[in-house]
Amino acid sequence: MLRNWRQRITLTDVVIWAIGLSILVVVVIGAIATLRSGKYALETWFDLSMSGLALGGVYALIALGYTLVYGILKMINFAHSEVFMSGPFTAVFLAEALKRSGFFDSNPVVSLLLVTLVSALVSCGIAVLLERIAYRPLRGAPRLVPLITAIGASFFLQYFFRGLYGSGIRAYPNIPILEGFWSVGGLRVFRTDVVIIISAFLMMLVLYGIVQKTKMGKAMRAVSEDKEVAALMGIDVDRVIVVTFALGGLSAGVAGVLYALAFPVVNFYMGFIPGIKAFTAAVLGGIGNVPGAFLGAMVLGVVESLGPNLFLDGLGIPSANQLKDLVAFVILVFILIFRPTGILGERLAQAKA
């Protein structure tokens, strides 16, 4: 038994584990040092966690698009960040018009729903077109081909929208009902954060329900297992794939509006960074796995928000916040060392049909 172990452990494993352990040690020492210094009040930690969770909620909705497409096509849709950008960048015009006409102030909830609907529909439309024009003709091609196409499509969409709406920035109007915060036992809970976290969680539940409980979901899981066999069983594979892209697009469009609630400035380049983060979140949670994408995104959001102050401040690193992406990606490496397929593992369907 012992000999068996010794044969299975290679030098690479030892090195990788050593890296993992040193990350852990740095994180723990840094966190203890920061907490002992008492530089930050409890309220600050709470504020940071909440904004991290809200950011995580947005990442989660984008990550769902990556994860669904990956689950079914085993393909990383790099143009998804542009699908995300297209919705809020289009809906901002509606929001501006509603604000000018005064409708936004008299019916804020209806307006917000309208804006979300437009954003979701635009993103959904772009995602479906993308599938039809850029990916379907390459269905039988080697896996690298659609991947490179996706990168090309991403640039095309970015500059298409730049041409369409200009390269300047646009801003969403202020929404008075979402401003301010509730005080809960001395802690501040921002309304925007709450709305974002709850909406993201609900969207995730809906998508999970569709994948697990509906007939279409069953077909999606079947296609994800084996396309050819699914086709033989009478499943229209192309239709399933279109629905998958449409669902991913819808959730990206909703994510776009939630993102704009927190960070109300949109431009043609806004999708890039959240797209990369959401992709990271999907990998972190286990790509192809719907609850995994949500969990991964929440972990990433919180680590990004708390990490630099918690882990690095105590170590005396100046301007630690510049390193927040570094912290996030080191944590990704750390988790992948111990869970190579992500927190929840790679699978679209948890309970196999």
Binding site: T44, D47, S167, G168, P173, N174, N321, Q322
Partner: protein, 426 residues
């Protein structure tokens, strides 16, 4: 047999090549012909222009335009900064008209306001030997990557908006021959901002945030040193990434020091996010917020919403420009581009073009047929020796390290929905 054929064909190719080169060589003496024929009237012009310039000449044929290029940020979130400068340059070209009988061809590259964008854009411009001079860059990070390439190609480069001090400080790796600027060095802007904060606002404790760009880092450094020299204290130094949206962590860190003013001379949209989120950070609700000329743009009003109220920026003082600015330049801008100036470095770009064209007129050797020969080193020398050039932004005198600006800094304050912001100091 086959080998002989190969050898023969190689010889053929070689001889063809020789013939081609020879052809070029034999063309030159053609000009000598009138000299050889004795009965021709005495020709005043030198027979053929011979370039003696240390780093080469640009020859512009009789009907060819003089090629001037720009390297500015004309897309992305800092688009207004570069487009505004380009507009200023185009007005200058229109005002000036033909140079020594030649039209001016004005083309350019997008530098993207980053080192990653400045490097390839600089390389493309440097590869074009027809270019006499470059107007650019917009951002100091771009400049740091592009200047070595442009300088090595022998061109001159005049920036309307680079403000990082080291670009014109002697004895450091970022100061290159052939680089000039009509914008102020941030040694002046940072000191003025510190003076405003300490003496006008009366704050004693400040915190700073930069975004890792050359411009922001240097400006923060100058501001901090000047503020400490005045007797103030620095309670926190933060940094963000240019594309960061969630600033809550860095603001929480800053808030622990309870500063009276936060100085973040960065760009859009990160600047707008800090302004918005500072209001929501416990302990920073009443703190003064201040940026610099990178945040002087209509995008700030658009992107910051209601939170923009009271936000300070330092910037070149537009009222210190000569009368021609309001009376002449702004109406022309409005006429040509359908808007008031959209950023602040249009007049500097106007002067950059003015300097360049004046220098070309000063050094170009004109042949009888109108051909221009512009010595590249001569052009640089001319610019280094410019004294009291009457520009829009003031009276420009270039230092031996390329500083041509006549800087006057003012502080402006934003109000909701209003652009340009209100000038409040000095």
């Amino acid at each position: 047999m086959k080998r002989t054929l190969t050898a023969l064909s190689v010889l053929m190719v070689l001889s063809l090549l020789l013939a081609a080169c020879g052809g070029a060589a034999t063309e030159a003496p053609v000009v000598e012909e009138p000299m050889a024929t004795e009965e021709a009237p005495v020709v005043e012009e030198p027979a053929a222009f011979e370039c003696t310039d240390a780093i080469g000449c640009v020859t512009v044929g009789p009907d060819e335009p003089i090629h001037v290029a720009y390297l500015l940020v004309i897309s992305g979130s800092n688009e207004t900064l570069g487009v505004d400068s380009r507009n200023g340059a185009e007005i200058a070209l229109a005002d000036h008209g033909p140079v020594l009988g030649h039209e001016v061809l004005f083309t350019g590259e997008d530098g993207g306001c980053s080192a990653e964008g400045g490097q390839p854009a600089g390389a493309r411009l440097a590869a074009d030997p027809t270019i006499v001079g470059v107007i650019g860059t917009s951002c100091s990070s771009e400049a740091r990557a592009a200047i070595p390439l442009i300088s090595a190609a022998g061109m001159v480069m005049i920036s309307p908006s680079n403000t990082a001090p080291d670009l014109t400080l002697p004895g450091n790796e970022n100061q290159w021959p052939g680089y000039f600027r009509t914008a102020h060095s941030d040694l002046i802007q940072g000191a003025a901002a510190a003076d405003f904060a300490y003496n006008f606002l009366g704050v004693r404790a400040i915190a700073t945030i930069h975004d890792g760009s050359l411009y922001a880092e240097k400006l923060v450094e100058v501001f901090r040193d000047a503020f400490v020299a005045l007797g103030g204290t620095v309670t926190g130094e933060g940094a963000v990434q240019p594309d960061q949206t969630d600033m809550s962590a860095v603001l929480a860190e800053i808030a622990t020091g309870a500063p009276e003013l936060i100085y973040y001379p960065i760009f859009m949209p990160a600047g707008a996010f800090i302004t918005r989120q500072a209001l929501e950070t416990a302990g920073l609700e009443e703190t003064h917020l201040m940026g610099a000329d990178g945040l002087f743009s209509p995008d700030v009003v658009e992107g910051t919403g209601d939170a923009v109220e009271g936000f300070y920026v330092s910037s070149p003082d537009l009222t210190a420009f000569g009368d021609a600015y309001m009376a002449d330049f702004v109406p022309k801008y409005l006429e040509m581009f359908g808007t008031e100036p959209i950023s602040i470095f249009h007049a500097h770009a106007y002067d950059a073009i003015g300097l360049l064209l004046t220098a070309i007129e000063g050094v170009a050797v004109v042949d009888a047929d109108g051909t221009l020969h512009i010595g590249r080193q001569a052009l640089r020398d001319f610019l280094y020796s410019v004294e009291e050039y009457p520009g829009l932004t003031g009276s420009l005198t270039c230092s031996e390290y390329g500083d041509c600006a006549d800087p006057v800094i003012a502080v402006y304050q934003y109000h909701v929905g209003e652009y340009p912001p209100e000038r409040i100091w000095p």
